[in-house]
């Protein structure tokens, strides 16, 4: 077998079998499972199956019914019971845990309703807010009838205003589509961001480990450093795809299973309802290109250090580039058509995230995406050629090397003067 493939599979299987890889993968799988089952988990911990019992002390004798109806429309899970007893008894019932809380309804001087809510703690703001909103509705109705407004007049007053957004550009995404795209792009951006940082780190560590353990000298006398570098980049790349595939399969299966409980909630917000094929396609393309860009950078930076401790310091500038790209992308999520975003999408170190953001959220001409990809690809090639030369010299350099001056030194070592 060609030595390129030997190194590629050696790197791949060695990492695949390593404890740290297995542990991280399993942990992430657990997190993915937890996220996709979030509704079930919340329900599990809620006693009474999510039902919240509230006792109502109606001092007026007429507010209970309308109040109950309002609460019903706002939150079905709140169960109201008319409590016939004294304040003290009700409080004791709450302390015993029979009820989540008690609400006392009465009229003020103007004959309008007011309420006092008592509970063991008032940390559960959603219950409190729901009750308050319901009572507000009741009050509005009562006040309106005091002013002798008809139901029709009342409705007019509360009718929401018509407000439509129309994009003039052809094929432009509608507001709804944009919201969907935003969620999907957001998640994919996160994946690109984490994967690039994690795997680029892995490559730099791998190279530095071989160098610091001095096994490098045997390796480079066997196989050309350039071959080694690319075999390693591809090996780790394969590893990243394996890991992502595991996450996606687990995530998707678990998500499908929970479709019912999540219906109309989470899924629509994050745009999973129907995933546009083009967005996924671009995500894969930009993921792979972004990986290659930063992996090449990491490999040659890793080749410059001689101690593992120096790796982090050496690749910090690279990590900052990724973080900067991500920050810009986060800003761009809210304003994808800003000129700033357009410009940065052509800067190769940001292209994987920001050009992806633009193709995901806007309808940009295909040539713009292709131009971005072309610039990115050209940069990767230049970086690979340059990086391979630095790598070749860098792996032979030992000593206190952790500055960028060493790039020059490494190049000099390979020079044929």
């Amino acid at each position: 077998m060609n030595s390129f493939w030997i190194i590629l599979f050696h790197t791949y299987f060695n990492k695949l079998k390593s404890k740290s890889f297995i542990v991280t993968t399993l942990l992430t799988v657990v997190i993915v499972l937890a996220l996709t089952n979030i509704q079930n988990i919340i329900n599990l911990f809620d006693e009474n199956g999510g039902q919240e019992k509230v006792a109502v002390l109606d001092e007026t004798g007429q507010l209970y019914e309308p109040f109950k109806q309002q609460v019903k429309t706002i939150n079905k899970d709140i169960q109201l019971t008319l409590y016939k007893g004294s304040d003290k008894q009700a409080e004791q019932a709450v302390e015993k845990g029979d009820y989540q809380g008690i609400i006392t309804l009465r009229f003020n001087e103007e004959q309008l309703p007011e309420g006092i809510f008592k509970a063991m703690s008032i940390a559960d703001s959603s219950l409190f807010t729901d009750l308050e909103t319901s009572l507000q509705q009741v009050k509005t109705m009562l006040a309106a009838s005091q002013m002798n407004l008809t139901a029709a007049q009342l409705q007019k007053l509360y009718e929401p205003v018509d407000f439509d957004k129309v994009a003039l550009e052809k094929n432009a995404k509608t507001e709804e589509e944009l919201n969907q795209a935003r969620g999907l792009v957001y998640i994919l951006l996160f994946i690109i961001y984490f994967a690039v940082i994690m795997y680029a780190n892995m490559i730099a560590m791998e190279v530095a480990t071989e160098k610091s353990s001095r096994v490098m000298e045997i390796l480079i006398s066997s196989v050309s450093p350039i071959k080694q570098m690319f075999a390693k980049i591809l090996g780790i790349g394969l590893l990243s795809l394996t890991q992502l595939a595991v996450f996606l399969i687990v995530g998707y299966t678990s998500f499908k299973k929970n479709m019912d409980s999540l219906n109309n909630g989470f899924s629509e917000v994050f745009g999973f309802g129907d995933i546009p094929g083009a967005t996924i396609f671009y995500a894969v393309v930009f993921f792979i290109l972004g990986y290659f860009l930063y992996a090449t950078l990491a490999a040659f930076l890793g080749s410059l250090v001689s101690r593992i401790e120096d790796v982090q310091q050496m690749i910090t500038p690279m990590t900052l580039l990724v973080v900067a790209g991500f920050m810009i992308a986060m800003f761009g999520l809210g304003k994808p058509d800003a000129p700033f975003i357009t410009v940065t999408s052509y800067i190769p170190f940001f292209t994987p995230m920001i050009m992806f953001l633009r193709v995901g959220m806007l309808t940009i001409p295909v040539w713009e995406a292709i131009l971005g990809i072309a610039i990115l690809t050209a940069t990767i090639i230049v970086l690979a050629v340059f990086g391979a030369r630095v790598y070749r010299g860098g792996v032979l350099m030992y000593g206190k090397s952790n500055s960028f001056k060493d790039i020059k030194k490494a190049l000099q070592l390979t020079k044929n003067d």
Partner: protein
Amino acid sequence: MSLKLEHVTKRFGQFTAVNDLSLEIPEREMFGFLGANGAGKTTTFRMILGLLDASEGQITWDRHPLNYSTSHLVGYLPEERGLYPKLKVRDQLIYLARLRGMPKNEALAELRLWLEKFKIPEYENKKVEELSKGNQQKIQFIAAVIHKPKLIILDEPFSGLDPVNVEQLKGAVLSLKENGATIVFSSHQMHHVEEMCEHLCILHKGRPVVHGALKEIKRTFGKKNLMIHADFPLDYLKDHPGVVKSRMTMEGAELQIEGELVAENILQEIVGKGFIRKFALEEPSLNDIFIEKVGNSYE
């Protein structure tokens, strides 16, 4: 199939590490490389291996330059030892052997043979970091030769080993030579080279100061060592014509003289003066030659 270096020079910027080095190492020979620290030995090895390009001159094996397409022919034991600390001995050696073009099964068989030879078969499944330094070095040595290379380059193979391990490793090196490998090795220890090499080269500041067959070098060096053990004082001999250096010992004197003739004169001089227990004329040691050629320029 000889290794040939023709007018090889390597410069790093202003610094010249190797200067106009020409060597020919015949097949199946053991060639010794001597030199003080920083003399250019490792740089020369790296050029032979193709890790560094020579600034001038060329290096050929069997009339072809060495490069990655010939890496299966070459074995290398670097001066700075290094293996994957977390990998098992077996996985490690098989991986390195495969990188040099040996199929997996063959590598495994060869690996077991070598472990058996070094009497450490139980280490096959141990991680390298669990082994003692001496045993790590044996593994490192196996890594250099497992793929049956024709040309073996050993950079300080015996440093840091105890005498028993040195003997074991020497035996292994000699058996490789008997099996037809050409071996180049460097050492600080003269007696290793003296004992094992037919040809040698002493590098000094990148230049070869002595180069040739061991016997020839000793012969042309001219000077010989004369050892006399006698019951009477020998101090006056240090002013005898032809005596270069002298050292008085408890039992007599050790003299470095210019030639055999001087020894004859001295013998005639001292005969009859008392009892002479020992009178021995010896070839100069490599140590003497090294100190003379390299040490002088330190002064």
